[in-house]
Symmetry: C3
Subunit: 309 residues, 3 copies
């Protein structure tokens, strides 16, 4: 019974534990099959449209690679400046238009809630690739896929989320998925960038143990996974505030040397300077493997949306 067939992918909280497990299983199968062959033409003739109202490289490229490895094609809106948006078209009209050409839409948009609005405007599936400070569920799925691969399990994890937890949509979606499994979560951020209270409240309500702290050393020493995030310049009205905060939570060789044991390091990327390049050679540095996993997970989602898995 195809559990995601025809569904939108909008929010981390839409998945049951069983859904997540099915997605990871499919992604894992695809990863294995792609070692043997270059393409899995399950979605021949299907067309994926990318609508990115904000800068992005990795998410867009990852989806474009995923649909093409499944035999499908891509149409892309290109930059906002060279599109109908410049003629004053509403998001709803653009979505309805693109729905006439494509079989699935991948949307990134600066406004929280825009993905839901888009999904409500069209019968074809919409995948939220980031809506403002809202959600980014496919990133969260590839994160848990990576954790599962690196750690071997999703059960009873101890994880530190570090950096901008207020505006970081990636971590917002990730904690939704983590909360489906038993976990202890350290939220490590400057006071100004703490995880929104309602999310913390929701986690605790689900029986997740949450520790909010500014002490990255202590959190890391208690964790199996260190999930770093970028403090995004573009979220700050006051740039001096940004300059003051950005250096607060930096991971480098010295930091790792002082840890009691090996840790797995994730980051949604791009990084600026929150992870020093010297960390790249550390065996637990999983952030580039994490990106490759994104292709397998998105292939799994696409195949499942079209009822092919």
């Amino acid at each position: 019974m195809p559990i995601l067939k025809g569904k939108d992918i909008l929010h981390g909280n839409q998945f049951t534990r069983k859904d997540v497990e099915a997605i990871l299983k499919t992604a894992s199968e695809f990863e294995k099959e792609l070692k043997k062959k270059d393409a899995l033409p399950l979605l021949k003739g299907k067309i994926l449209a990318t609508l990115f109202y904000e800068p992005s490289t990795r998410t867009r490229l990852s989806f474009e690679a995923a649909i093409q490895r499944l035999g499908g094609g891509v149409i892309g809106m290109g930059s906002v400046e060279s599109s109908s948006v410049a003629k004053g078209e509403t998001l709803v009209d653009t979505i309805r238009t693109v729905s006439q050409y494509a079989d699935v839409i991948v949307l990134r948009h600066p406004r929280t809630g825009s993905a839901r609005e888009a999904a409500d405007s069209t019968p074809i599936p919409v995948i939220n690739a980031g809506d403002g400070a809202g959600q980014h569920p496919t990133q969260a799925l590839l994160d848990v896929y990576t954790i599962h691969k690196e750690i071997g399990s999703l059960k009873n994890l101890t994880i530190s989320l570090v950096g901008d937890l207020k505006y970081g949509r990636t971590v917002h979606a990730l904690v939704e998925l983590l909360s489906l499994f038993k976990a202890k979560i350290y939220l490590v951020s400057p006071g100004l960038l703490r995880m929104p209270g309602e999310i913390v409240f929701g986690l605790k309500g689900k029986g997740i143990e949450v520790v909010e702290t500014e002490d990255m050393v202590k959190a890391a020493n208690a964790s199996q996974i260190l999930y770093m995030t970028r403090i995004q310049k573009e979220r700050f009205a006051d740039l001096s505030e940004y300059e003051r905060l950005k250096g607060s939570f930096i991971l480098n060789g010295a930091f790792l040397n002082n840890l009691k044991k090996k840790i797995t390091i994730l980051h949604p990327l791009p990084r600026v300077d929150e992870i020093h390049p010297e960390v790249d050679a550390y065996p637990g540095a999983a952030y580039f493997r994490q990106m490759r996993n994104g292709v397998f997970v998105r292939m799994a989602l696409l195949a499942m949306i079209f009822g092919k898995r």
Copy 2:
């Protein structure tokens, strides 16, 4: 006998009535076949190049979807700023260059006559996707395809064309096609944006009944079809003139409630505010269906240009 094989698609007046009927027939067949399968790989290995010197979403995406659903590939110039145009290359040189890489070129360019100039520079087929205030023949073909589907026939139509009839290349190409069939055409526009005199003269010469008016209610009540167009900001040197005129010909629920009978509403989109969103639920609102039809019509044209239909 393949009637369009190797031909350029430049101007609404290049088609005979028989051509139009053959295109619509092929488009209709493709539409039916695509209900049964995702792709019709008639043009495997063929490459379509998109050269858009002006903002566009729907025309470009529609062509990209069309060639890919036929099994072909796409190469695209991207925005003008990031291309050789920025190095001072002429249109003719760009066209000759792209001709070395692609099998067909789709061109949008701000200058009237540019599509003809492009076609004269290359042996491969050029499809005009809008040349300034000139022509946009594939839009006109999808318009008549939509009219045929919605009304059931192209014979003895009564149609109102509303809005910017002076600069609206869509309506310029459409009246060329309509004039192949018997029709009564209401031209509804502000005085400053009337259909160019030579076009009106040409229509009358072909025995088409033409009524020029500013009374949209009267025209709509006499018509089966209301073809709305956007009054394009970018065509105005004087923005205050734009502000004064843009509200003149607006379609909303109240207008439709006052009509004597149901009417079919078309619009090339994007709209700004000339059709209120409340109209979208009206059964005769065909403008989103119209866009989907664009894919079938462009598939038909491409297949015919390559002699595959």
Copy 3:
């Protein structure tokens, strides 16, 4: 034994004479096969990523056409402004990221040496599509392919390279390849834009006869091939200097009429005014054919990199 399998394509000097001959042979076979069929699906499922940090049309489109004619797909970074680069990501991180999604990367970047840096950051092959004033080896390969087709041989050529020989990466890579065969090379440029001394020195060391001159007539009369290049505005800090120099080496009908015999004319394009359009009809004007050859040569390189030839 597949000679280029898994290799980066970075610099004209990486190829032996045997390599060049094998590439030209494969390109020639592909050219013949494409006359019989539209596609050669040797690289089905392979994904090529284009990363262009500088404006380009022809190189990017040529690679996109090449991989698609081989059955593969494309993912593209788009313009630098709408990508992660705008978020402050380093080239190395971007390359590592894209490596997770693609099977081969084509890079154009304004900094000399960037292609080497990129290749050192990733296990997948990197193709240098121009690194500042450095190299552009695939252009050089298509140039020698064109020379071979037009002249019938690569042995004992006499060739004039004209224009900006200082910053022109195309000619830098080309002389590397020419030096594998016996040749006499006229370097025709204004004093300010002479070929870098170390390149001239290297050529002479390999037994190539080099003549540096500002006399284009004399050089052309002594040559079988006239390789024109654009004097690139963007290379000049002082625009008045550009204005003074750009007219110095212009090819037009009068110039050709005064030559003693027919000559083969190449140009990497785009041209601005260094070749007058009246020259296009001259039988020896091979610069548009040259571009088409680029697709065959890039197909050959891609097939060989993936061990399919």
